[in-house]
């Protein structure tokens, strides 16, 4: 469903992505593993359309989306949970979720929005009692759940999930992992997960790509992540 071909991107004149190639099948959970500064977040931001690629192309569900703006990609079914969560701080949790329902630009009644929000809240019971709180007043973990819930309100076909475990307490990391597995079983949604947390990426991904200096340098099976030597060799990362 997603085809990334020779994708290059740069910040100003500094090249960050040197030619990324991979394909994603529908329903697949793809992990991308790499150090800080290897281009993980840049890849995600380029896929979402925030950074214009300098070369290469991206095809999503048979649409060439290489030159599309972020909102157009969102309407096609790309969901984005950014690094740092990017909750709207001065909006209530409910309004953050309502913003998720804006995707598609479709005209809907507020009743339909409420249905989508209620359904999403069933997956995130912890958010229900926080609905009237300001997004900025939530803890990091709660914000991460909210960012994911908000993304699900857009009814995405492919979720781009950027370092969801960063600075989050372990109980919520587990909760997120379980929620995502449940979601895959129920809806068949696809996901690209960018991570440094080996346990989390191993628990969720069907295969794992290794990114180094803006290139995909290897591919691992999730079970290989438990072997510290393999990881150290491929990623240059202590397990």
């Amino acid at each position: 469903m997603l085809d990334v071909a020779a994708l290059q991107a740069a910040y100003g004149r500094v090249p960050v992505l040197m030619g990324i190639d991979f394909q994603l099948k529908a329903g697949e959970f793809l992990g991308i593993l790499g150090h800080n500064g290897m281009g993980k977040t840049t890849l995600m931001r380029t896929l979402m359309g925030f950074i214009p690629p300098t070369a290469g192309g991206v095809t999503f569900l048979d649409h060439d989306i290489t030159d599309l703006k972020p909102h157009a990609r969102a309407r096609l079914g790309l969901g984005y949970v950014p690094q740092g969560r990017e909750i709207f701080p001065a909006l209530s949790v409910r309004d953050n979720l309502r913003m998720g329902c804006m995707a598609g630009g479709r005209q809907k009644g507020s009743g339909e929005d409420r249905g989508i929000i209620d359904e999403t809240l069933e997956l995130f019971p912890r958010l229900t009692r926080l609905l009237d709180r300001q997004g900025g007043a939530l803890s990091g973990g709660e914000q991460q759940l909210l960012a994911l819930a908000r993304c699900l309100c857009t009814r995405p076909k492919l979720i781009l999930l950027d370092e969801p475990t960063e600075g989050i307490q372990p109980s919520i990391i587990e909760e997120i992992a379980e929620t995502l597995q449940g979601l895959r079983a129920k809806t068949g949604v696809s996901m690209i997960l960018v991570e440094q947390n080996l346990d989390f990426i191993a628990a969720l991904s069907s295969r794992v790509l290794v990114i180094q200096k803006g290139r995909i340098t290897g591919e691992l099976r999730p079970d290989q992540l438990e072997d510290p030597e393999v990881v150290a060799e491929l990623v240059g990362m202590a397990a």
């Binding site: 979402m48 984005y80 950014p82 701080p89 909006l91 913003m99 998720g100 804006m102 630009g105 857009t154």
Partner: protein, 288 residues
């Protein structure tokens, strides 16, 4: 007692005109961080729209409340599409461009209508308070200012557009990742800000001399109010108008109107010195 009532009415009028002349600017600055130096000219265009249509036989209420805001709103959208849109995120360039625009509009209007002062009679007539006379138009302006403020609250807090606008103002990138086109939000916001300014221009036409250069008389006060108010569009405009309007009118009453303006400027300077982020940088934080 009668005197107090008249002074009170003047204070009310001062507050109301500050709200009117600065609200459109506050919307554009608060939501988009665009400093529109052609703000005074938007006011002037609103005033001209009312004067010209009234002189051509249009009902003055219709001219003030419909023609002026619609006309200036459309001008605002045109300006946003042709000028502002290419300059987002470039504060100084936007200031230069809108300053140039203001000169252009003044020149254009002078060329078409001449450098003369026009006017329309003040509607509604007056009333007697003891030995003093006042006109009914002042309380009407105060009422409209209040309704406008309430209108902004209702739109921002209770409508779909308001939610989208607030979210886009807070995190434009994230809003676009949720399927909102920030471009269109900015266009609409600029249009609405311009329309509110046009409405203000129309409403002020009967109580001020309408001339191509009239904008410069308002633009400084509008900026002082917006900067003094700080980040919140609504609480900022309301509180700064309340404060500066009262100071200005009380100063005028106790001394002369000229000193009233001086006192206003001194007060504003002191306020910014003490509260560099404006009133809502310290109080009512996070309000609309």
């Amino acid at each position: 007692m009668d005197l107090a009532a008249i002074v009170g009415l003047n204070v009310l009028s001062g507050i109301a005109s500050l709200v009117l002349i600065s609200l459109g600017l506050a919307i554009i600055f608060g939501m988009m961080k665009i400093i529109n130096l052609a703000h005074g000219e938007f006011l002037m265009l609103g005033a001209y729209a009312t004067v010209l249509s009234t002189n051509h036989g249009v009902n003055i209420w219709f001219a003030m409340l419909v023609i002026s805001p619609v006309f200036v709103g459309l001008v605002g959208i045109l300006v946003e599409r042709t000028l502002i849109r290419v300059l987002y995120g470039r504060l100084v360039d936007t200031m230069l461009a809108t300053w140039g625009l203001s000169l252009f509009i003044v020149g254009l209007v002078t060329m078409i209508f001449g450098n003369t002062i026009n006017g329309v009679p003040t509607p509604l007539g007056g009333f007697q308070v003891g030995a003093y006379r006042s006109d009914l138009y002042t309380p009407f302006l105060a009422l409209v200012a209040l309704l406008l403020l309430c209108g902004v609250v209702v739109v921002l807090r209770f409508t779909r557009f308001g939610l989208i606008a607030r979210a886009t103002m807070q995190k434009p990138d994230m809003a676009s990742a949720l399927g909102v086109d920030p471009d269109r939000v900015y266009m609409a916001t600029f249009g609405i800000g311009a329309a509110v300014t046009g409405l203000a221009g129309g409403l002020l036409a009967p109580v001020s001399g309408v001339a191509p250069t009239m904008g410069s008389a308002f633009v400084a006060k509008a900026f002082i109010t917006v900067v003094g108010g700080g980040a919140s569009i609504l609480a900022g405009t309301a509180s700064a108008s309340l404060l500066f309007g009262s100071i200005n009118q009380m100063g005028s009453y106790l001394t002369t109107p000229v000193f009233g303006e001086v006192i206003l400027l001194v007060a504003a300077t002191l306020l910014i010195r003490v509260l560099p982020e404006g009133i809502t940088g310290r109080f009512f934080r996070g309000s609309l």
